[in-house]
Amino acid sequence: MSESTQTGINKFVGNLIGIKDSFLGSFLRSRSLLSDRSKAAVMVNNFFLHVQGAKTHINTLRPTYTFGMGLISLYLFFFAVISGVLLMIYYSPSLENAYDSVKDITNVVFGGNLIRNIHKWAGEGMIVFVMFHMARVFFTSSYKKGREFNWVVGIVLLVLTFILNFSGYLLPWDQLAYWAMVIGANIAGSPAEITDILGITKYFDFGGLQKELFLGGTVPGKATLPRVHFFHVMFLPIILVIFLGVHFWRVRKDGGLTKPDEFGPAPVDEKFLALPEKKGGIFPTNKTYGLMELAHGKTPAVDKDIENTVLSWPNLVWAEFAVLMLTFAGVFVYSMYINAPLKELANPLIPENPAKAPWYFLGLQELVSYSAFMGGIALPTLALIGLGLIPYLDREPQHVGLWFSNKQGKSVALQSFIVAIAALVGLLAFVVNFGWLRTWFTDIPQVAIILVNPGTLWVGFVMAWSLFIIKKTDSTRMGAIALFTMFLVSFVILTYVGTELRGPNWDFYWSKSQWPVH
């Protein structure tokens, strides 16, 4: 069709017919995804994909390297956000309406119960998978060589995950929420134990101030729900997203996920590798370096890694999509069968007996049952600082990207695991059977209880054990493995004891069926 014979109408019809191709082309910014160039372009040009590289190291794609933990945490966050926005349509954060609106959501609103369950389980799933992700990053030494600060960002994200979960737990204004609020507020107020001992509470009541800022008053009530709600739906999620952005950005700037220094692809993987094309390809054999790459490290890593990468599209994207489907299936099925709890309307006169925090805080509650200030504030803070400092105290550059570093690391982890279980179970058994200082010396001053209780002894033991391992192995990495393994074991054991073995009056019971009638 020559230029002269093409009428406006013809052009219009031609464009109309071509919409399928032209729209898709404009959307993907390339006609087809057949060439390496277009596959790379789709990663670089797409807003949502460009945080990832055009090519991905195949170690990143090994399921047994990451187990997809970080990705699963991210997806769970997405599910929690989407379901949370839906819940906000019906939820009302006022004392009069909160409980009824949650009941409405659970019993009346179409799909409300399912959405509430998804919100609950995605949120709590985040705790589990963020912890798993942290363990993966730790045991593969992925906090080293320029990634130190990102580990700290990760700790912040962990804390935010906990606070987000806790603040959400308070919103239904049922018995669980009310008494968790009371206990939480009093933990916030527990620095008063210290100022009392120093005799300065009258002048500087830091605990009281914290408690008041949390409650918006002296008791949980009208003023509390709006501020907790604001924190849960607005402030904390925004902060979390900002830190997530920084977290991902830094991973990307550090060259993607960690990988072993010496990496040989498995024979089955070889056929997928994006081998440099001889001529005319977009990835030349002699890699050139941008300023960013030269700015990292002492020398550009010439001829390294380039041979062990695959194109991110489709290899990475499909893997991520598969994890998305699996995660959603998991949350969905779980939420179909298991309901989020909702107890009676909050009653300030009758505490639940036992009054338990949500499960992820029951390890802390066990510590709190020895001393409110130590268990609720000092020891958790110490644990977080300890975790955050790991990359700065262990700077050995070897073994990055290898699970447990080496043979010695595996055996240190195993030893620490066994020692931690034996020692902690022994300590708890002692406490359950024989009580603690106050059982033997009724008049003992509070300061002794604060300083010497099972919680502080345990933390002291963990630190001593880690130092012992450092001394024995002459390696800070081994000490870090000992410390972290013991941290994980403590979290699991204390949480289990608090959840399953503590009954009314925080007494010990082997099972709920032995609880006395009350």
Partner: protein, 165 residues
Amino acid sequence: MNNNACCAHKDPHKKEPEGVSRRDFLGLAGIGVAIAASFTAIAGIFRMTKATVHYEESRKFKIGMPAEFPVGTIKKLDDKKVFVFADTEGLYAISCICTHLGCIVSPTEWGFQCPCHGSKYNKDGKVIGGPAPRPLPWLEVSLHEDGNLVVDAAKEVKKGTKFTV
């Protein structure tokens, strides 16, 4: 070379600066003011989140006429969260809010027991077991002009302070 030339040229003309130069002083002062202003702003924001008025029930309340509390009375005022006792020496009120983490203690033969983390108190509110950091506070009892007894849960008095009409 260039460097040498410049400094050789500069030295004779410029006096050795004493202390901080004007530019540095103004710059540092500006930064200092900005930091001070930010802290003030943050302090103000925190102050704003601390409520000026609490829309809560008054913690000072009437409990009834003295005649309603003969010697030997042990009464738990559920909604006020206090115990009121009367013995031969007088009337006294003890808070039933556990000093550990704020649960409600219940009376037992030997004193008070907290359900949440197992704190135990004797009949005077003294801690005899568990993690509680402080004894149960004794509260101020007084007489209103209309003849009613008044308990002020916000005012702690010394253990053993008993009120006689």
